[in-house]
Amino acid sequence: MSAITVRNLWMEYPGQRVLERINLDVPAGQFVAIVGASGCGKSTFLRLILSQERPTRGSILLDGVPLPDDPGPDRGVVFQRYSVFPHLTVLKNVVLGLEIAASPLIGKLFGPARARAIAEAGSYLEAVGLTQARDRYPAELSGGMQQRLAIAQALVRKPKVLLLDEPFGALDPGTRADMHELILRLWRDTGMTVFMVTHDIKEGFALGTRVLVFDKVRNDPQDPSAFGATITYDLPLAEGKRASPKPKGDVPCSAK
């Protein structure tokens, strides 16, 4: 399906360098887990793939073509929070993506077109197990159900790449295990490329077919923001394989 190539990527904010010298080739269909302590630019990297921000230097290619300047339907996303629309019911949250695609002027469908969209959205809700809750509002759902909804909503436009930013960080352990199963199943069924940021190293190794560790290699004790993080470990794992090569543990990002 879709490959991501990153060429010599740097990201700097005024007075602060977040990422430096990132080079990466991700073939289509990989499940890439990105781990590292907070403040090491994992989420920044995800925002760059999302086109939410522009890199200072370097480029990101999707299937050999530079990324567009804006977020778009080719890259879906699930955030830790606020990914779903509070004013729409579960069903309408998913139908929205189809309506936006089919109706540029008012973003709403009527009659048979609407019925088809509802049927299609219903199949996604069934895939994430939310059929029972289709008429409820997000505020009436548990945290896990809200993330299921966010995933269904992200899949409805059939993105080439799915970006997950700490998607299960706010969930309790039992729910989290269910969600791991769900996301692995959806990934296998769709064959899309997945990037998942997590600070739970175990989670990264359990889900990913490849684990990237972000950390700073250079550090200036006088000016912690002088150097950015880069990929310090790039560990390929066999699909379905559980954590075997243990990294050097939970090293905090040197800048902290």
Partner: protein, 273 residues
């Protein structure tokens, strides 16, 4: 002994406690009115129930001799017309500019400074200018309400738009939504309940501006009437008019609250958590 902060009145007692101040005020009024009228039967300050009733029926059910109007209803019609036009326009302006201001950085850069300057001009100080520019007719009164209320609504809406989590806007873009679709499907529906709240808060100032404008220059309207009657010390007319204005204001607030509650069930869902 239970602490007083933990003791709650039941429904009936709460109702009676709520009614008590009204009863006391009414009783005081009647007592002092009777005392003053016993001393001087033509006293105008605290008219008796009889006199009040006569005035109400004169203004409500009988045509005025010169104009042939039922004065209370004519006054109410004109005041509500000005109010509806003024508030309606202010709401529309507040919504359009507020959303544009809150969502589109280039518009915010161009408009925000101007809006914050306009918002601190005391609207009543603008009234003479409005009368000079727009004349003494309807336009100047409606404009005063718009000028008084629109900047507040604009800023309120812009703040609410800015409060929508960035994640939602990014998510909408990853679903392929254009700016227009984001406004239509994400921003407007989430802003409308807040806008109604803003309009409810603006009702007080709007009535203030309306009555002030009518008091200074008008040939009709509730504000015009009470200031006209002041010249004759006609408390028997002024008191019912003030009560009527209060009722109208409370009723419009209630209707807006009802609309907000029934039109946006998701707001209640969010509060229930």
């Amino acid at each position: 002994m239970q602490r007083i902060i933990n003791r709650r009145p039941d429904r009936l007692i709460a109702l009676m406690l709520g009614a008590l101040p009204f009863v006391i005020i009414a009783a005081l009024y009647l007592t002092f009115s009777a005392m003053r009228l016993a001393e001087n039967p033509s006293d105008k300050l605290l008219p008796s129930l009889q006199t009040l009733g006569d005035a109400i029926s004169r203004f409500t059910f009988h045509r005025e001799k010169v104009s042939g109007d039922f004065l209370l209803w004519t006054d109410t019609f004109w005041s509500l017309r000005r109010m509806a036009l003024g508030l309606g326009l202010a709401t529309l302006i507040g919504l359009v500019f507020g959303v544009a201001n809150g969502l589109i950085p280039y518009i915010r850069a161009g408009l925000a400074p101007l809006i914050s300057v306009i918002a601190v001009i005391p609207p009543m100080a603008m009234l003479p200018i409005l009368f000079i520019v727009f004349g003494l007719e309807e336009v100047s009164k409606v404009t005063l309400i718009v000028i008084g209320v629109a900047p507040f609504l604009m800023r309120d809406v812009a703040l609410r738009v800015a409060e929508i989590p960035k994640e939602e806007l990014i998510k909408a873009q990853t679903l392929g939504a254009s700016t227009w679709q984001i406004i239509l499907r994400i921003v407007l529906p989430q802003i409308l309940p807040r806008l109604i709240d803003g309009v409810r808060l603006s009702l007080g100032p709007a009535w203030l501006f309306l009555i002030a404008a009518e008091a200074i220059a008008a040939q009709s309207g509730l504000g015009y009437r009470i200031f006209l009657m002041r010249r004759y010390l006609s408390m028997d007319v002024i008191l019912p008019y003030v009560a009527w204005i209060t009722l109208l204001a409370a009723l419009s607030d209630y209707l807006l609250r009802l609309l907000s509650r029934n039109a946006f069930p998701w707001v209640a869902a969010g509060r229930g958590r």
